[in-house]
């Protein structure tokens, strides 16, 4: 099997696995979107993700500031 197919299958299976596993937890199954029901602090998760995204964008623009060479 080609490497690309194997990577695709692993990625797809991981996505299925993660989604099913997360819904196995009481949080996934009981989640109604009511704030505080799971006491996991989702807002802080969103905050962390925001910091991650902006750090990523910052790092990328810094990288782009450097001279680039064309692929040979």
């Amino acid at each position: 099997m080609k490497k690309k197919t194997v990577t695709g299958l692993v990625t797809g299976a991981s996505a299925t696995g993660i989604t099913l596993t997360s819904s196995l937890t009481s949080t996934g199954a009981a989640c109604t979107g009511v704030c505080g029901a799971c006491s996991l602090g989702c807002a802080s998760f969103a905050g962390l993700a925001a910091v991650g995204l902006f750090a990523f964008l910052g790092a990328r623009s810094k990288k782009k500031g450097k001279i680039t060479e064309s692929p040979q």
């Binding site: 990625t11 797809g12 996934g28 199954a29 109604t32 998760f45 623009s61 001279i67 692929p71």
Partner: protein
Amino acid sequence: MWKGKKVSKIQKKSRMSLLKRFIWYVVGFALFFAPFALFNRGLAFLLDEKRSGDIHATCFRMPLVDMLTGKGIVILSVTGISLILLLVSAFLLGPFFCGKLCAAGAFTEYLSRLLPDKWKVDWSKYVNPVPLRYGFFAAFIIGPIIGLSLSCSYCGYSFFEKFTNGGIWGDFGVLGSTAIITAFLWLVVFGLFTKGGRGYCNFMCPVGAAQNIVHAVGAKLPFTMKIKYDRKKCVSCNACVKDCPMRALTQGEDKKIQHSNHNCITCQQCVAVCPTKSITYGFGKGGWQQEEVKPVQEPKPVEKGA
């Protein structure tokens, strides 16, 4: 010389196409999404079915699970008819609902177009969206069959309805912790800051994934409508790749364009911007290269003065 002229012409064409598509999405919003949901309400009225007029009438999760678990499905119901229309249109025309009618997907795309490209991330460069979206779709189907409940709170559809209902009636519904995450992921990370603005469509949406599975099969047949390509006419200007909201187009090492039916929503934005009419939408063969050509490598950054 023609480059300068064509660029502004391409931008004009792109804007015209966006405007035309916008009109379709407004129609789609009125037909399928609360508070209007005219299609769902009209059909429920005709079939004498008592159900609320919102996007859940057209969500196929439960009918699909009912089918797979042997409970069967009532064809002459709002969900039954919607499911058939959704899949048949995807087979014959491509993901018509996504490309023309789904206001939820369009909302983040148009929002993201307001930001300059340098602020956006092209996630498809880091991970192939196709296996991910099909993986989520598999879990979406398998979950309820094995007795697991997947939370609808993470659905971009639902959130879009809460958002628009809130804007129109002041009724945002339950805006809890999961809504905060959904809003953040759907609207900000995978909307505003994503190239194309359709991260939710590309990575997670089960309705889109189901249509693309059907479209990928349908596109192999000559009597179905699909995005087609004429290699000889293509001047490799890359305008189509840049404007594709689903990142379904890439440029190969030979500078020619590659296309994926597994995430193309047949929105025809690429058709509109192509200056040489190399990309069209119609019947017949797709014309996309069968043998694999490596996508163009990103230029490697090197330190200044190196």
